[in-house]
Amino acid sequence: MRALELRDVSVFYGAVRGVEHVDLHVDEGEIVSLLGANGAGKSTLLKAISGIVHPRAGSIEFFGDALAKQSAHRRVRRGLVHVPEGRRIFTTLTIAENLELGAYGIQLGRGERADRLREVLEHFPILQRHFDRLAGTLSGGEQQVLAIGRAMMSQPKLLMIDEPSLGLDPQKIDIVYDMLEEVARLGTTVLLVEQNVSLALEISARAYVLQQGSIVLSGDASTLAEDPRVADAYLGKVNDVPE
């Protein structure tokens, strides 16, 4: 089953191109990576899928339903969750409150919410520490872990996560990536945006490479891992590669 299908999606910020003519799909249960250099349009694409920005053209389908002009908070209710770049946890709220808000969109009762919280803590025991502390006191790695846990509170069908390794030391990156694999193992489809190519390809089934707003490469993760053009894309050279 197609979890996500983008056809000919273009996003503009005024006259400035974000992404143009993007076709992309993610099948249910897959981990798919979206790779590319800074400014290639990766985050823009995620924002268009989660509804923070609206595409100028093209269609986005989520499990067969067109998202079109649906507002961002309704998409969350349908199981489409986006962990944005920079984590954006609520620093003035406690960790417990952050997690509770993760389930806001799916409108659970108080009891169900508590059950859900227990489940998430069981799967991600690392969150149990400092439960009542303000989230702003957490380190970067802990904040990323919290952001993923918070997203899992709504039992998403598709989790989109933007640059989870950014600014973390290798040990913390391992923790975060273990967590992402656990997310996938629990049956959630993952669309991963990364600059760290080898890391992303290691856990992905397939990947797309964005360059200056367009998809220039796509395919199996194992094939792309061997492809020198992936590295070139980061240096802006893909279009120059002789056939």
Binding site: S50, G51, I52, S71, A72, H73, V76, R77, V81, H82, V83, P84, R88, I89, F90, T91, T92, L93, E97, E100, L101, G102, Y104, G105, I106, R113, R150, S154
Partner: protein, 303 residues
């Protein structure tokens, strides 16, 4: 000493009004970073609406202590004022969500003018002081050498309850957590599935409703209302909100009480014509020595 005690009592009582109006100010600031200069005028409109409703239901009745009537009229006025405040947000502020905060403030000042002049030209309302249909009976109790009326006590209690209710709502409920989340990061809140527009609308409703309650109590206590009453109260409530730390719920109530006491004592010492001067003097001193307010965040950031 007796004078001080007396003014302390008066101050707490005055502070209860300030606190309630300040709550609405502070909550709207917290969520939109907007100093809503029209807030005091919703308080004023609420006073006039309650004046008309009470006048209609109390024809031929004794004007003293109609507590039950006051209670249900108070609730109705809270709903009406909350609704009006929400409507103002929907019509004026919401379409300006992407505009600079300064534009919103100017819009708020414009709205304030519309409300004041709207009341001015409304038949039966107009420019004169109107006598409020219900007044508080002089009966009460003595504390030391001072006499307090039951009405004063009830006003303090009702204000306290409303403030506590708001505190509980914002601090403990999921809706309150969503309010704080929207206040910190609107986009991230949206990504949690929070309907940001709805949460903002609810905040406006609550702020308006609290101002409505304060207006009914003001009418009963002072016995007269005027179309300009919102201006001063608005500024005093704004002062209270800043004193306590704007954006902070507990701070608004605390700021109200502090301002009430300072103003009462100042008035007793300098005379009543100095009331406003004392209030703003306190504000200036506060901004000088502790710009974040007693409990709150920095104000200078977005103003």
């Amino acid at each position: 000493m007796s004078l001080l005690l007396n003014e302390l009592g008066n101050g707490i009582f005055l502070g209860a009004f300030f606190g309630l109006v300040a709550l609405g100010y502070s909550m709207v600031y917290g969520i939109l970073r907007l100093i809503n200069f029209a807030h005091g005028d919703f308080f004023m409109v609420a006073a006039f609406v309650s004046y008309t409703i009470l006048g209609a239901v109390l024809v031929g009745h004794n004007s003293h202590g109609q507590w039950w009537t006051l209670l249900w009229v108070g609730v109705v006025v809270m709903v009406i004022t909350g609704g009006l405040n929400m409507l103002a947000n929907q019509i004026i502020y919401r379409p300006m969500r992407r505009a600079a905060i300064l534009s919103l403030m100017i819009a708020a000042i414009g709205l304030s003018q519309i409300l004041e002049n709207g009341v001015l030209v409304t038949p039966q309302w107009g420019a004169t002081y109107l006598v409020y249909p219900v007044t508080s009976p002089p009966a009460g109790f003595n504390l030391g050498s001072n006499h307090y009326t039951w009405a004063q006590l009830i006003i303090v209690l009702v204000s306290g309850l409303l403030a506590l209710g708001t505190y509980f709502l914002v601090g403990r409920t999921l809706l309150g957590k969503a309010m704080r989340a929207v206040s910190e990061d609107r986009i991230a809140a949206m990504l949690m599935g929070v309907n940001v527009d709805l949460v903002i609308a609810i905040v406006f409703f609550i702020g308006g409703a609290l101002a409505g309650a304060a207006a009914v109590m003001t009418g009963v206590y002072y016995g007269q209302i005027n179309y300009l009453m919102g201006f001063t109260v608005g500024l005093e409530a704004f002062t209270a909100a800043v004193l306590g730390g704007i954006g902070n719920i507990g701070g608004a109530m605390l700021g109200g009480l502090v301002l009430g006491v300072v103003q009462s004592i100042g008035t007793a010492v300098f005379g009543s014509e100095w009331a406003i001067v004392v209030a703003f003097g306190a504000l200036v001193l506060m901004l000088w020595f502790r710009p974040t307010g007693l409990l709150g965040e920095r104000v200078a950031r977005r103003m």
